[in-house]
């Protein structure tokens, strides 16, 4: 339904987007994952029509987007730094886009849409409250609500959860998935948070320095990263990257091959080579160990009951891994 081909955008010396291809199916949630400066926001702004691409084409439902002004594209953008009108109630804030010139909705239709969106977002009880008397999470819901009432053809979300508390982010990301199911509208969700990407996406697009490095389902990108750079983008703690050595290399892996091993794929005991525990973090259901091993520092996720202190000796055993051919 939304399709980008070879989209490039340059700002002075910076190539913000380099020949980006992207497809978002009807009903699909695509997450664009990348660090600060990867080009994520430029990508969304280009889809919204706020930036003009230097090269490439964008189309939606077969129509060339270049022919449509931002207002005609029927996209809804939700930003990280949302702003509500402070003097207005939640209801007034949510009605605002529906009262824009060119919309011809009856009062009854406006009421129905606002209340429908509010109940979906669980802010029905806040409708008459001034927007200055909301918590951060409530404000972000209202900002999303303001986008929903428009019933756009696509939602573009730019790090909408980033400024919120960790705990709130966790519950809002679950709500986001449920919301998307209820709305049946495609979404492009931009974030630098790998947990948000893995847990919400139908497909993840990994973006780095304006270039798409890999596109795939969360499991594909997590389990079979195309490159070490992609591998480092997903997983917390990050994947261990090591040059295979004879003393510990998994069967069939040539010495010197670059190997990526997820921390949960190394057991602390049972391997051939000894290592020394440096840091132990009690994470609740598991423990995270930082171990000096094989000439490197590796992270290991150990079971909750694994007793270890800094200085202890362990024998890491490698389970699943990814190996990349050297360039």
């Amino acid at each position: 339904m939304l399709s980008l081909r070879g989209v490039s955008k340059r700002f002075a010396a910076v190539e913000a987007l380099r020949s980006v291809d992207l497809d978002v199916g009807a009903d699909e949630l695509v997450v664009v994952l990348g660090p600060t400066g990867a080009g994520k926001t430029t990508l969304l702004r280009t889809i919204a029509g706020l930036e003009q691409p230097d090269a490439g084409t964008l189309s939606m439902d077969g129509r060339d987007l270049a022919l449509l002004a931002p207002a005609e594209r029927d996209v809804a953008l939700v930003f990280q730094n949302f702003s509500l009108y402070p003097r207005w109630t939640v209801r007034q804030n949510m009605e605002f886009p529906l009262r824009a010139p060119g919309r011809s909705l009856t009062e009854a239709q406006i009421k129905e849409r606002v209340e429908g969106a509010a109940s979906m977002l669980k802010i029905g009880h806040l409708l008459e409250r001034p927007s200055t008397r909301l918590s951060g999470g409530e404000m972000q819901r209202v900002a999303i609500g303001r986008a929903i009432v428009r019933r756009p053809r696509i939602f573009l979300l730019d790090e909408p959860l980033t400024n919120l508390d960790a705990k709130l982010r966790e519950s809002l990301r679950v709500e986001l998935v449920e919301l998307r199911r209820a709305l049946k509208t495609p979404m492009v969700f931009v974030t630098h948070d790998q947990a948000e990407a893995l847990s919400t996406a139908d497909r993840i697009v990994v973006l780095s320095q304006g270039r798409v490095l890999q596109t795939g389902t969360p499991e594909e990108v997590y389990r079979r990263p195309a490159s070490p750079v992609v591998a480092r983008q997903l997983g917390q703690p990050a994947i261990n990257l090591l040059k295979a050595a004879r003393e510990w290399a998994p069967a069939g892996v040539a010495e010197g091959t670059l190997v990526g091993i997820r921390p949960e794929d190394i057991a602390p005991e049972g391997g051939p080579l000894e290592g020394t525990v440096r840091v132990v973090e009690d994470m609740g259901p598991t423990k995270t160990l930082l171990v000096e091993w094989a000439g490197a520092e590796v992270h290991i996720v150990a079971p909750k009951g694994f007793a270890a202190r800094p200085g202890d000796k362990v024998r890491p055993r490698v389970g699943a891994f990814v190996a990349w051919r050297s360039e």
């Binding site: 951060g136 679950v174 630098h192 997820r262 440096r278 259901p285 992270h299």
Partner: protein
């Protein structure tokens, strides 16, 4: 080493940010103040630093009552979320800056020592703009340590770093603290940071202390419903039972054909190393930690690992 006694902060508009808390931190301990925004954790830290004056109670550092002392007289090192290095000074000059003000004769030696211990000798001639975010924050940490303060205070120091750097900085801070043995108080809203860093966690809620304990105690035996939900990612499952509530962590829920609770899978939340299976049941939403995939819509029966069920009374306090 640090004694807070009935410490209070009421702002002129009547807001009671901190409502009379007691806390005793021993020499060399790493204590994390954890809670949501507005719980009073930052205000508490600022009162220890002297950046806010208490409206009631006392702050004692090393036996001395410092409640009314200016920040510069308290011998504390502070690190904030925004590192605020001086852009026109080199890393060496930035680290040395706190010593300029007190005129320490062994200034150069102390800067060199801190730079060496923190592994940033190769950075000392650079300017802040030439450093990554993580290295800038390391310099801010070094600057706060160069005076060898009695107490190290940190307010969300990892706030602006990305995930990869956060893990590295967490390990760096912990290693530095273990080596220097300086008593540390660290403020965060991120329970994962708190679990990974603390000797003891102080969970705060609405200006009061909800629980004090080691990470394992707070995680395994939360004192109240608030702590049960706030600590853990996701928080404890909470199920009404009679007047009270049962609490069980997602890793102690399992699919069990003979289980007492029937439900339907609402969502399979993939997190890479693990999955969180969200199940809607007649007792509410229950989240199960799992390595197996589950299709949304699937009917399942669940049971809890009895040895790990917590019980809370009608007022939300743990009863066992």
């Amino acid at each position: 080493m640090i004694e807070l006694s009935k410490l209070e902060k009421t702002y002129p508009d009547g807001t009671r940010a901190v409502k009379g808390i007691d806390l005793s931190v021993t020499e060399g301990e790493f204590v994390v103040l954890l809670g949501p925004s507005g719980c009073g954790k930052t205000t508490t830290l600022r009162m220890i630093a002297g950046l806010e004056l208490a409206t009631g109670g006392t702050v004692r550092l090393g036996g001395q009552d410092v409640t009314r002392l200016r920040p510069s007289r308290r011998d504390v090192g502070m690190v904030f979320q925004f590192y605020a290095l001086y852009p026109h000074m080199t890393v060496r000059q930035n680290i040395a800056f706190p010593l300029e003000c007190v005129g320490a004769p062994d200034r150069d030696a102390r800067v060199a020592e801190v730079a060496k211990r923190m592994g940033m000798e190769h950075l000392v001639a650079l300017y802040p703009r030439q450093l990554s975010g993580g290295d800038q924050q390391r310099v801010a940490l070094a600057r706060s340590m160069v005076r060898r303060p009695r107490v190290w205070l940190m307010d969300e120091p990892l706030g602006t770093l990305d995930a990869d750097q956060r893990q590295a900085m967490r390990e760096f801070i912990r290693a530095q603290q273990i080596e220097s043995k300086v008593t540390t108080i660290y403020v965060t809203h991120d329970q994962e940071e708190a679990m990974s860093l603390a000797d003891r966690i102080v969970v705060m809620e609405a200006g009061v202390i909800a629980q004090i304990g080691t990470p394992a105690e707070v995680y395994d035996r939360p004192a109240s419903l608030f702590v049960a939900n706030f600590v853990g990612s996701p928080g404890m499952n909470l199920v009404r039972e009679g007047d009270g509530t049962l609490g069980v962590r997602p890793e102690f829920v399992r699919v069990d054909p003979a289980g007492a609770i029937a439900g339907r899978v609402a969502m399979d939340e993939y997190l890479g190393s693990v999955r969180m299976i969200h199940v809607d049941t007649e007792r509410g939403r229950i989240v199960m930690r799992s390595s197996e995939k589950r299709a949304a819509g699937e009917s399942v029966r669940l049971s809890f690992d009895e040895g790990h069920v917590r019980r809370f009374d009608a007022s939300g306090r743990a009863v066992c």
